[in-house]
Each structure stands twice: as structure tokens, then as C-alpha cells.
Amino acid sequence: MAQFLLRRLLISIPVLLGITVAMYVIINLAPGDPVTALMNPEQMANLGPEWVEQQRESLGLNDPAPIRYLKWLRETATGNLGYSFVDRLPVTEKIGERIWPTLQLMLVVLVIAVVVGVPLGIVSALKQYSFFDYLLTVLGFLTVSIPSFFLGLVMIYVFSLKLDWLPANGMYTVGQPRTFTDSLSYLILPATVLGLAQAAPIIRYTRASMLETIRQDYVTVARSKGLSETRIVTGHSLRNALIPIITIIALNVPSLLGGTVIIEQVFGWPGMGSLAIASVLGRDYNVLMGINLVIAIMILLSNLLADTIYALADPRIKYA
């Protein structure tokens, strides 16, 4: 097992490096200059071009791109992701305070998606071609066709502005002691919007996976032994059907991360997504690069986790 994990980790490293190189190349194609982008024209006129040059030199922006990349990589390996061009705070600190809200949101979204998606997928498969199955297909179509930010706006309109049940913006009530119920009330709307979108593929794959397993010989054998239908479904069919679903959940992590970007912006959630948008608008390359790195690591880890669970759950897979 340890060997399997180690090998998987080693395979991830070149992919990670590839992603960082690609991102670095993209960012270096930028025509914008982070030094001039930061200063108001008045100040620049007063202090003159020497001062701009000095600023640029002190930020290490005059080295050739490959050297800058290697410098960045060396620093990254030691845990230094550089400093924000905008507020001079360390990137690790900026991302550090934004990563937990995003992870919290993602976790709740995943729980909602699985709790909603898996049972609906099972029922849909057991009652194939029923009205319920058809209804779910239509609803699935609707959820992939409604932009999440629009659904978010509608939810804010209905539940925050008209009914006044839930808060629309932020993570907790400012100036009040943080309580669980308070935090939960802020989490419900964004997590539901993303959770519904994420549930759609889980429903589809659970259904397909269940349909496949309920036709297997071992299910027929179980039925011929006279086992109850519930035991057949839960003990024989579902157990095997769940294995590919683990992969689907892991494969959806990128789309989940992408979803948080827009949803965080809509609900004023102080996570990495809204930080990414702020740094795009402010041309804060170091922060943007740091976020990309963190996202790449999160995706590789989720793939690794999925592989591991897969190997543990399915004895047919040898992890040698």
C-alpha cells in the first residue's frame, strides 16, 4: 500500500510541475506591468521613471522569465510563495486565510451532492423508465442549464430579500460572537446552489452504475437464494455500484472548485475563488500563481485519494 501511494505521488510531481510551468508562461505573456498597474499616474509622474525601475528591480521583475520561474520554484519549495503586489502581505498568509472557507464550502457541497445524488440515483435505477426516473432526467437537464450565479441570485431574491429567512452575503454576522447556527445560516444558500449542480452528475452515474450491477449474475444468484429485495439492493448491488461513484466524485473536484469561484463572488464568501477574481482584476500575479498552485495540489490529492479508496474498496484492483 505504501509503495502504491508513493508511486502515485511520484507520478503527480511532473504533472504539478507541468501545470506551474504552463501557468507561469501564461502569466508572463501579460502585457500589464504589476508595478505600473499598482501606482496612480500622479505618483508615477512625481517620482519619475528611476523610482519605477527601482521598484521593479526590488520586486525581481527584471530577470528573464525562466530565472524568475526557477526563483519562484525554489522559494515555493521552502514554503515562500512571495508577496502580494497589492498589499505586500505574504501570499501564503493571504491564501491561508481564504482556503478554509473554500474547503468548508466544498465539503458541505459534496455532502449535499452525495446525500441528494446517491439515493435519487438508486431509486431512479430501480424504477427505470418510471415517471420519477423521467422527472429526474428533466430536473437534471434543468440544473445543468441554469447558470449557478443566476440560481444564486434567484435564491438571494427569494430567501434573503423577500422571505428574509437567510443572510445573502458573507460567512458570519459581523460584530457578533460566532455561533454554529449563525455560520450555518450563511452556508445554506451557497452550498445548496452548488450542491444541486454537483448532485446532477452523481445521480446520473449512480443510476448507470446501479443499472449495470443489478443485471450481474451475482445479483441473480442472490435473488434465487431468496434474499429480500432490500438486502439484494444494499448488500450486493449498491456495494459494487458505489465504487465507480467514488471516481466520479473525485473527477468532479475541478468543476466543484470552478463552481466555487463564481458562487463565492455572488454570496460574498471570503474564499479562494473571490480572492482569485480580486487578484485577476488587480493583476496580482503572485497571488494568482499561488492560488493556481494550491488548486493544482488539491486536484492531484483528490485524485490520489480517489485512487486509494478505489483500491481499498475493490479487491479486484491490485495496487502493486
Partner: protein
């Protein structure tokens, strides 16, 4: 004896009718999917509105009139006016041009890239195949919205850049499909036969392999159009896509980030949102119908 002589004639005439018959069955199969027919109809209406926007729009979409500031829907302005007194309905009609052409343009770009890369990977195999497919994995494993906002911020937000960026990132699924078709078709009897009579590679690819790969590509491209429209809407909503004063459904919705507008002026954000949902839903049902009609095996 007479049977033997008539048989080839019959099969020849059957061959001659293969083409129209296939189209007839295609349409009759597609027609059974009622939702898809509705989707096709809705999409055609939207395309017509987009093309005829200058004729249909009651007002100039960009004419600012401060005396008509944020007016609710009325007889003169069916969907009211926005914060600059512009007619919302006219802006929606012009926005359809932008949103639909982003969808079509972006998908056209990545279908070309994906077909070429997938074809090269599938035809040459070996390390070229490996490099292209790993590249595809990498692009697929990264949240595209992050890459897109990074690229758009560098290139500058504009319609053309949004089309380019979505087009540059969308190719992996197409490349995988085309590569898959190449790999399976390469060894099929009719391809082997054609190679054995000395047909050049280019001719084999053009005559035997591409025509067979078109079906999955068309279906994929249809769904891709829907997601390109969604992406453009999201980007424009964030202010990183189509820039005002040019109207797109997404950037009209941008105004709804203000709580006042969201709460008190639903005519400013509900119609563009509804337009996105209707367009995307129409395209997705159309794609579903096409998949069923073109490939009966994939029927659920």
C-alpha cells in the same frame, strides 16, 4: 437465372437510395424526441431574433436616456429600462447576437483544434499520442474558469478574446473522441481493404475515418455550445467577459450584484437570466435528441 441477374440491380438501386433514406430516418428518429424538436424550434427562433435584432428591436440598444432611468415595464418599454435609461428588451435582442456567436465561435475553434490533435494522436500513435493525451488530461483536470479568468485578464476582456480563450481550452473531449474513432477504425476491414489497394493515408482519413467520427463530434459540439454560452455568461457577469456598452446576457446580469437592483428591479435581471436558461436548455435538449437520433445504440 433471372433471379441472379435482378439481384445486383436491386441492390444497386438500394445503394442509390441509401443517402436520402438515412436522412429520412434521421429526421423521423429525431422527431420522436419531442423535447428536442421543441428545443430546435426555440433555438431557431432565438437565432432569427438575433439576426433580425436591428429590425425587431424597438429602440437603439445603446441610446442613453437619463429621463427614462430604471423605469419598470410599460407599454413603451416592454421590459423596462436600465440604469442608463436604455431599453432592456432591445438590449436583450442584441445580446442574443453576442451570446450565440460566442457559443458558435468558441465551439468552432475547439472542434477544429480537437479534430486535428485527436487525428494526429490517433493516426501517429506512440509518443506523439502520449504527449497530446497527457496535455488533454492536464487541461481537463484544471478548473477551466480559473485558467480562463487568468487568460482573459492578460489578453483583456473582449468578445473576441472570450471566444478565443473558451475555444483554446475546450478541445480535449473532441480530441479524445476523434482519437478513439481513429484507433478503432484504423483496424476495421474497410480501412484495411482500402489501404491494401494502395489508397494514400490522406484519402483514407478523409474518406473513411472522418465521416465516421462526425457523429460523436456533432453531439459533443452541440452540448459544448451550451456550456460555452454558460461560460461567457459567467465571465461577463464577473465583469471579465464582454464589456459594456456591448450587451451580453451575462453582463446585463452584472447589474444584479447591487442589492437595490436585485430587490426592487427584477426586470433588469430576470429576463437576461431567463434568456440564458431558455437558450442553454434548448441547445441541451437538441443535443440529447441528436444523440438519440444519430446513435440509436446510446439510447437510455
Amino acid at each position: 437465372m433471372s433471379a441472379a441477374t435482378t439481384a445486383p440491380v436491386e441492390s444497386a438501386s438500394r445503394l442509390a437510395t441509401v443517402r436520402p433514406r438515412r436522412d429520412v430516418t434521421l429526421w423521423s428518429r429525431f422527431r420522436k424526441h419531442r423535447l428536442a424538436v421543441v428545443g430546435l424550434f426555440v433555438l431557431l427562433v432565438m437565432i432569427l431574433i438575433a439576426i433580425a435584432a436591428p429590425l425587431l428591436a424597438p429602440y437603439d440598444p445603446n441610446s442613453v436616456s437619463l429621463s427614462d432611468y430604471r423605469k419598470p415595464p410599460s407599454a413603451e418599454h416592454w421590459l423596462g429600462t436600465d440604469s442608463q435609461g436604455r431599453d432592456v428588451l432591445s438590449r436583450l435582442m442584441y445580446a442574443a447576437r453576442v451570446s450565440l456567436s460566442v457559443g458558435i465561435g468558441a465551439v468552432a475553434i475547439y472542434v477544429v483544434i480537437g479534430t486535428i490533435l485527436g487525428g494526429v494522436a490517433g493516426y501517429f500513435g506512440g509518443w506523439i499520442d502520449n504527449v497530446i493525451m497527457r496535455l488533454a488530461d492536464m487541461v481537463l483536470s484544471f478548473p477551466s474558469i480559473i485558467v480562463i479568468i487568468t487568460l482573459v485578464s492578460i489578453l483583456g476582456p473582449s468578445i473576441l478574446n472570450v471566444i478565443l480563450v473558451i475555444g483554446l481550452l475546450g478541445w480535449p473531449p473532441i480530441a479524445r473522441l476523434v482519437r478513439g474513432e481513429f484507433l478503432t477504425l484504423r483496424e476495421r476491414d474497410f480501412v484495411v481493404a482500402s489501404r491494401s489497394i494502395g489508397a494514400p493515408s490522406g484519402r483514407i482519413i478523409a474518406r473513411h475515418i472522418f465521416p465516421n467520427a462526425t457523429t460523436p463530434v456533432i453531439v459533443n459540439a452541440t452540448f459544448g455550445m451550451a456550456s460555452a454560452i454558460l461560460l461567457e455568461a459567467g465571465l461577463s457577469f464577473l465583469g471579465l467577459g464582454v464589456q459594456p456598452p456591448t450587451a451580453s446576457w451575462g453582463n446585463i446580469l452584472n447589474a444584479a450584484q447591487s442589492i437595490t437592483i436585485l430587490e426592487e428591479m427584477p426586470w433588469l435581471w430576470l429576463p437576461p437570466g431567463a434568456a440564458i436558461v431558455v437558450a442553454v436548455l434548448a441547445i441541451n435538449t437538441l443535443g440529447d435528441g441528436l444523440r438519440d437520433a444519430l446513435d440509436p445504440r446510446s439510447r437510455r
